[in-house]
């Protein structure tokens, strides 16, 4: 038995959820529904066109469905045999042609947009070139024109076109900044992918790895920080400047022997793992421990606390990552965390 009441009851929760969802379309710095740059904007426009067409289709089908379900229910005791209709060529042609027309309306802008977004900016002198290399589970950003390398936080000058060359050092990952641009896979081997985007407004945008890449796939976040061009220039020169080692000789020794074998700071250290220069001015440690003096959630804390939490047991924060547990005394741990928590780059004014 399905009466009118039940249909209303069935639709009510759906409508309630719709209303709930549409009033809150996510965060400005994350949601694809709140585009913050021209590339995401173009994709959003295509999404809106598609959604509009699809809503029309869904409404038509739902309307016909409800009409037939209610109108042609069998009455109790009804033994009549309905007319056995074979089909209707006119109707069948209509519902072949209408979808084709709808697909043309959607298909033309789709193809235009495909070619538009595949423009290659790698040889454009006005664009900022960035080589993105993904690792389990962190991101390396190299600026070949400026001769600097950083990790986890992609600092860009606002308004400029950023030309990305993306590759992977291990497994397939996918580079995604929802509010600025769609994603592109990073493939291992010589298979380098290109994309571009720009951020007209200053701000921090959240980026994510979108391809399953191992246990900590879901924790492989990064940030894109758009700053004005003067700040960007200051940032580049600050990255190149030499960095003082820890003052305490014991801490210094531990830092050089146990950290700099893999990590780099300024002009010292190894390149295998994330470059730590200016780590204290990044928004997060390890991409997910958010630096804040007013922690609300369990993944938030001060820079010092976050660094300590990470260094003392990296696998508890990001399971399966390559750092593993480093043998440090409590003193060394404190000293290194404190030293790193003061490693700031003051480039924003």
């Amino acid at each position: 038995m399905m009466n009118r009441w039940q249909i209303v009851k069935r639709l009510a929760p759906l409508m309630a959820i719709m209303a709930l969802v549409l009033t809150a379309c996510g965060r400005d710095d994350l949601s694809t529904l709140r585009p913050q740059g021209p590339v995401a904007e173009e994709q959003y426009n295509l999404m809106k066109l598609a959604i509009a067409i699809m809503i029309i289709v869904v409404i038509v089908v739902f309307a016909i469905s409800f009409y037939v379900i209610i109108r042609y229910r069998r009455r109790p005791g009804d033994k009549t045999i309905p007319k056995q209709v074979e089909g209707n060529h006119k109707l069948e042609i209509i519902w072949t042609i209408i979808p084709i027309v709808l697909l043309i309306i959607l298909g033309v802008p789709t193809v235009q947009s495909v070619f538009n977004l595949s423009k290659d900016y790698t040889d454009d002198s006005n664009a900022v070139k960035v080589i993105v290399t993904s690792h389990q589970y962190w991101w390396e950003f190299e600026y070949p024109d400026y001769g600097v390398k950083t990790a986890q936080e992609l600092v860009i000058p606002k308004g400029k076109t950023i030309s990305i060359e993306a590759k992977s050092a291990d497994v397939i990952h996918s580079f995604w900044i929802p509010s600025l641009a769609g994603k592109i896979d990073t493939n291992p081997g010589g298979n380098i992918n290109k994309m571009h985007f720009s951020a007209p407004k200053e701000g921090v945008y959240l980026g994510k790895c979108a391809e399953l890449c191992g246990p900590s796939h879901g924790l492989m976040d990064f940030k894109v920080k758009a700053v004005d061009s003067a700040s960007f220039d200051r940032w580049v020169s600050a990255l190149k400047a030499p960095v003082a080692m820890p003052a305490d000789p014991a801490i210094k020794e531990a830092f050089v022997n146990k950290c700099l074998t893999c990590h780099a700071v300024g002009d010292q250290g190894g390149p295998a793992y994330p470059n730590l220069t200016g780590i204290a001015s990044r928004d997060s440690v390890g991409g997910i421990l958010i630096n804040t003096d007013d922690p609300k959630y369990s993944n938030e804390g001060s820079v010092y606390d976050n660094l300590k939490r990470w260094i003392s047991n990296p696998n508890a924060v990001k399971p399966g990552n390559g750092m593993g547990k480093i043998e440090l005394t409590d003193q060394e741990l404190d000293g290194i965390a404190k030293y790193l928590s003061e490693l700031k780059l003051d480039y924003e004014q």
Binding site: V61, V68, Y72, G87, I172, I184, G189, L212
Partner: protein
């Protein structure tokens, strides 16, 4: 013992149903665990590794070990009856198909107890699935288990192609075939072309993992993207392998319970063939973000969108089958009617995904998770539920309880929409798929909670269905031959459950909807096409089971050859293969002509001459 040696299509169908149902529960439990983990941010109900194993096994199990076997259950039980045949073309191969599927599935699930299940996603993308990044045996279980199970699917597909082409009753031309038979026919053709691609990929991956080959290892000249192509050349047709039979079920159920002929039969046939064909042309739409370039992306975008046209034809034909009909809302029909709008929602998001630039945003996000669950659960599983409720009396001779059936429908249906509708928005808000946990404060919390509640409701729906089966099993098997009274096709002309030989006399088919035509002409049964005579039956055989056990042992042996000393694994592998080949030899050398059922022993006279 009878069940281990049977070659009867109806019993094999029931075996498929039990095994597929069991794996459906396993996959469902995995889904519930996944949703418990995601019900709140930064949850640590399961650890990251276990979570990835759960999501991999959920996908693999549901696709290969639940959905396909349940379809095989329906097609085994029904297709020979629907075309007026006495069995499938190769009954022995049919049994072999079941046992390889079952033991392949068991092998895959043993991984849970042997140091960890595969954790690279059901798509097992290289290089994550290579032995550098997945060093345990989990992925070995995946490649070997699926190869063994794949044999079953492939031989099953071939079997049904031959059966449908060769064994239709006299008078049943292709354009008089019931819609379900048509869809199974196209599905079997898709299996024939798609599964070899999967097997090639799995063999290559097996060589990479077990014998140090480098098909997919870039550092040694291989190519990780190659795996994506091979996988999706199989994987996309697979979607249609799953959904076409559901289309067939829906066509039968809606037509029966509307007491009306299927609207636009010939355009339905045409649409089915077209969908099957296009299904092979669109695999790269899973790879828009892989970096294929704008030309490939445009072509695959447009080709993908085109699938909406034949699908649209089907949707409107179903709606117009109901139009002007006399619709009876049995549980089976509730599922079928619920299927139509639900599947449309899955279909339209499919067209949205086909727009490549927009897909750069949707891809690998929860939007995709929502989309394919709308297609696979909202399409296929609703279709399977409709089919099970519809044909249950024909298969078991008992009617399922309608009250419990309706309870099943409403909890499952509401739970389904609650679970997956909100996931569209999660994806658009920036939540990637396959993530073990998410940070707090991103705005994902409420919708994930709703989704988890929905998943529990779906679980309750499934429990009600199980309860229904149990309750029904205690009732006497007294269903009428045509229990819905509006049966239109041949399976409703014989007693419920069908006798061992199906049709005492092969019926003569005089039109589309053969039984309906006879009823309208005032006949109560089909006109037979042959005199009553001895019926030839194939002998039962234990060999299919032993052949599959041989493969199972061989798989385990080769998997562990690297770990065990003294080449024990290799010997075990060879021993397993010897069992299989010995059984094949026995089968080849022994001349078995089967046996006959004499006319005197045909108790149920079937149709009267």
């Amino acid at each position: 013992m009878d069940w281990l040696t049977t070659v009867d299509h109806k019993k094999i169908g029931i075996l498929y149903m039990i095994a597929g149902g069991f794996f459906f529960l396993v996959g469902g439990l995995e889904a519930i665990l996944i949703r418990i983990q995601l019900w709140k941010p930064l949850n640590d109900f399961v650890d990251a590794n276990t979570y990835n194993q759960l999501l991999t096994m959920h996908g693999t199990t549901m696709i290969f070990l639940a959905a396909m076997p349940l379809l095989f259950a329906l097609m085994n039980c029904i297709i020979p009856l629907q075309i007026g045949a006495r069995d499938v073309a190769f009954p022995f191969v049919n049994a072999l198909g079941f046992w390889t599927f079952f033991l392949g599935g068991v092998l895959l699930n043993i991984s849970w107890f042997a140091g960890g299940a595969p954790a690279a996603g059901w798509t097992a993308y290289a290089t994550l699935s290579g032995d550098t990044f997945s060093s345990g045996h989990g992925l070995d279980f995946y490649v070997i288990g699926l190869q063994i199970a794949g044999i079953g699917t492939l031989v099953g597909g071939i079997n049904f192609l031959v059966t449908i082409i060769n064994m239709r009753a006299p008078g049943m031309s292709f354009m008089r075939m019931p819609m379900f038979t048509w869809t199974i026919f196209i599905t079997s053709a898709l299996i024939l072309f798609a599964f070899p691609a999967l097997t090639v990929g799995l063999v290559a991956l097996m060589f990479d993992r077990l014998f140090g080959a480098n098909f997919f290892e870039p550092s040694a000249g291989g190519n990780a993207v190659l795996w994506e192509h091979i996988f999706w050349i199989f994987g996309h047709p697979e979607v249609y392998i799953l959904i076409l039979p559901a289309f067939g079920v829906i066509s039968e159920v809606i037509s029966t319970f509307s007491r009306k002929r299927l609207f636009g039969y010939s355009s339905m046939v045409f649409a089915t063939i077209l969908i099957g064909f296009l299904g092979f042309m669109v695999w790269a739409h899973h790879m828009f973000t892989t970096g294929l370039g704008p030309v490939a992306n445009s072509l695959f975008s447009i080709a993908t969108m085109l699938i909406a046209v034949p699908t649209g034809i089907k949707i409107f034909n179903w709606l117009f089958t109901m139009w002007g009909g006399s619709i009876r809302f049995t549980t089976a029909n509730l599922f079928a009617v619920g299927f139509v709008p639900t599947f449309v929602m899955g279909g339209v998001t499919g067209v949205m995904l086909a727009a490549a630039p927009a897909d750069f945003q949707y891809h690998d996000s929860y939007f995709v998770v929502a989309h394919f669950h709308y297609v696979i659960v909202g399409g296929l599983i609703l279709g399977i539920f409709a089919g099970l409720h519809y044909w249950w009396p024909k298969i078991f001779g008992r009617m399922l309880n309608e009250g419990l059936g309706k309870l099943t429908f409403w909890t499952f249906f509401i739970g389904f929409h609650l679970t997956f509708f909100v996931q569209h928005f999660l994806g658009l808000m920036g939540m990637p798929r396959r993530i073990w946990t998410y940070l707090d404060g991103l705005g994902f919390n409420e919708l994930n909670l709703i989704s988890t509640i929905g998943a529990f409701l779906m679980g309750f729906g499934t429990i009600f269905f199980l309860l229904n089966i149990v309750v029904t099993a205690f009732k006497p098997a007294n269903a009428a031959a045509d229990p819905w009274e509006d049966g239109r096709t041949l399976e409703w002309t014989i007693s419920s459950p069908a006798p061992e030989y199906n049709f005492a006399q092969t019926p003569l088919v005089r039109s589309y909807d053969a039984f309906w035509k006879e009823k309208m002409d005032g006949n109560h049964a089909m006109t037979p096409a042959e005199p009553l005579g001895p019926i030839h039956m194939p002998s039962p055989s234990i060999l299919p089971l032993f052949m599959s056990i041989g493969l199972f042992i061989a798989g385990l042996g080769f998997m562990y050859q690297k770990d065990w000393d003294n080449h024990l694994g290799v010997y075990m592998g060879i021993f397993g293969l010897i069992i299989t080949f010995f059984c094949m030899m026995l089968r080849s050398l022994r001349d078995d002509h089967g046996y006959h059922i004499e006319p005197d022993d045909i108790h149920d006279q079937g149709v009267k001459a």
